[in-house]
């Protein structure tokens, strides 16, 4: 159950006709994407094709040039800052470099959203932080600073922080980038475990297509700002589209 209540029959994430440019560079062009409740969508594509930008647009960290983004049916561009923040509480975001707060310990990093958005007593909060860290296998490192952790450990703490408010939607920006194969596999397993434990609506940006097979319900490949193909891993493998063929050959 989510700590922040949301009740709606609409698709959790619905993007239509989304365009975004930086200067003269068009990143996304009239992109449409709907993520259904309980579905995990894996976004694929070459670096710089706007996958991370799409995640940041969804959570309102950047503004779209054109198009619509609806979270549980609510158009985020029309929300006031307070309403946007209410919506953000229902979304967990794992950043590419984990983005842990340097000046706070592991415990305080995970407690950050809890202490601001819940009325938990300090003891309950500490208990909840321990549980979250146990879930990602980091319960031994509560008092460490982020600089004392390896890249994989930082990602796990970032994951615990993203899960702190039991969000309904999870956005993962390259959860396994820059990690060794064993740690990548562990993170992949953690996401799979999450998916089994709860109804997870998620968008995962990754290059690790094989790792993503474990938890993906649907793959979506973006090229030149638009979706070139979407479907199962098998569908991607069978595709005759030159870009998809080249991408899959590179991966396989």
């Amino acid at each position: 159950m989510s700590l922040i209540e949301t009740q709606t029959d609409q698709a959790p994430v619905s993007v239509t006709g989304l365009s975004k440019s930086f200067g003269n560079q068009k990143v996304l062009t009239a992109l449409d994407l709907t993520v259904n409740r309980g579905e995990t969508v894996v976004l694929l594509g070459r670096s710089g094709t706007g996958k991370s930008v799409l995640l940041k647009l969804i959570i309102g960290l950047q503004q779209a040039d054109e198009g619509s983004i609806r979270i549980n049916g609510r158009e985020i561009a029309e929300l006031s800052l307070d309403e946007l923040n209410e919506t953000r509480k229902t979304i967990g975001f794992l950043f590419q470099q984990a983005a842990l707060y340097d000046s706070l310990t592991v415990e305080d990093n995970v407690a950050f959203p809890l202490s601001r958005h819940t009325r938990l007593a300090p003891a309950e909060r500490t208990q909840r932080v321990r549980e979250l860290l146990e879930r990602v296998g980091m319960e031994q490192d509560v008092n460490k600073m982020p600089s004392e952790l390896s890249g994989g450990m930082q990602k796990r703490v970032g994951l615990a922080r993203a899960l702190a408010l039991e969000p309904e939607i999870l956005l993962f920006d390259e959860p396994t980038a820059g990690l060794d194969p064993i740690t990548s596999d562990e993170i992949g397993k953690l996401i799979s475990k999450l998916k089994k434990e709860r109804t997870m609506t998620g968008i995962v940006v990754t290059h690790d297509i094989h790792g993503a097979k474990e938890f993906s319900d649907r793959f979506v490949m973006i090229h030149e700002g638009q979706i070139v193909i979407e479907g199962t891993f098998g569908k991607l493998q069978k595709s005759q589209d030159p870009f998809v063929v080249q991408f899959m050959r590179g991966v396989v």
Partner: protein, 285 residues
């Protein structure tokens, strides 16, 4: 004319990367000046918007008390030794320099008063302002800059927390409250070492030195000058946070933010001092 020149010089400070365009032909130089002026006014426009957002965040609850205390420690307690040493050195220099001059004019007995007056009214506040702006300005510029490029500020926003409330308001408030206190430290150390330097040349008791020094000092000499450092604090806090929050371009950008935070804070503190001294003289002649 001098105003125009100042505008161009400050504009150049804001957009250092454009300086190479100066060496090209006349039309390009005009274009470069235009670009500099535009970036100059854009900078102030953005700063105005930044201040508006800062005030909105600072006055609306919930307040980040814990972070405020942490920042007060970082700005105040950790600057204490630096300000004490700078104030002490200023006291010695003032004593050595003025002693010589006053003996020449036969006004040696005024030495304690000159040291106390000078430190309390101007030297203490400006020394504290500049020394702290060097330390804290660079620290804030670099810290917020690196938080920006490592997406930590995005992460705060994604957690539905206002980064202005958590990062900016706390730092600016810490600078505003701590700088007057640090000024007292600079004043105290300066007066003490002023006496030590004086007594090494010609022994005089501390009590006599202080009696002479403070005989004609009034509360009006002390209070406005000390409180004006709160303005210095707000300048260094706002400018450094602003430079830090608009960092782009990786680690190089972080370096640029740290440097420009110090340069612009110090520059604006000196310019503000000119205005504030004039204003104080109007109200407390």
């Amino acid at each position: 004319m001098s105003t125009d020149l100042t505008v161009v010089v400050i504009a150049a400070a804001f957009s250092g990367g454009l300086s190479s365009e100066w060496s090209v032909g006349g039309r390009d130089t005009v274009q470069a000046i235009r670009t500099l002026l535009i970036s100059f006014f854009e900078w102030f426009g953005e700063l105005g918007r930044f201040c508006g957002q800062l005030i909105r965040s600072a006055v609306s609850p919930p307040f980040e008390w814990r972070e405020l205390v942490r920042q007060m420690d970082a700005v105040g307690a950790k600057s204490f030794p630096l300000v004490a040493v700078a104030g002490a050195a200023t006291g010695v220099v003032l004593s050595l320099q003025t002693r010589d001059s006053l003996i020449r004019f036969g006004a040696k007995s005024f030495l304690p008063a000159v040291i106390v007056f000078s430190l309390i009214r101007e030297t203490g506040p400006i020394i504290a302002g500049l020394v702290v702006s060097g330390r804290v300005g660079a620290g804030i510029g670099a810290e917020l800059g690196s938080m920006k490029v490592t997406e930590q500020i995005d992460a705060i926003e994604a957690s539905a927390v206002d980064p202005f409330k958590f990062l900016v308001a706390t730092r600016v408030l810490a600078c505003i409250t701590m700088l007057p206190l640090l000024t007292l430290v600079a004043d105290f150390c300066g007066i003490l070492t002023g006496w030590v330097a004086n007594t090494l040349a010609e022994p005089v008791s501390l009590r006599l030195f202080l009696n002479h020094g403070f005989r004609s000092v009034t509360f009006h000499d002390f209070l406005p000058s000390t409180i004006k450092t709160a303005v210095f604090g707000s300048i260094m806090g706002v400018v450094s946070c602003f430079q830090g929050m608009r960092t782009s371009g990786g680690t190089e950008g972080v370096g640029r933010s740290a440097t420009s935070s110090v340069v612009l804070s110090s520059l604006f503190i000196i310019l503000a001092d000119v205005v504030l001294v004039r204003v104080i003289l109007v109200f407390y002649p």
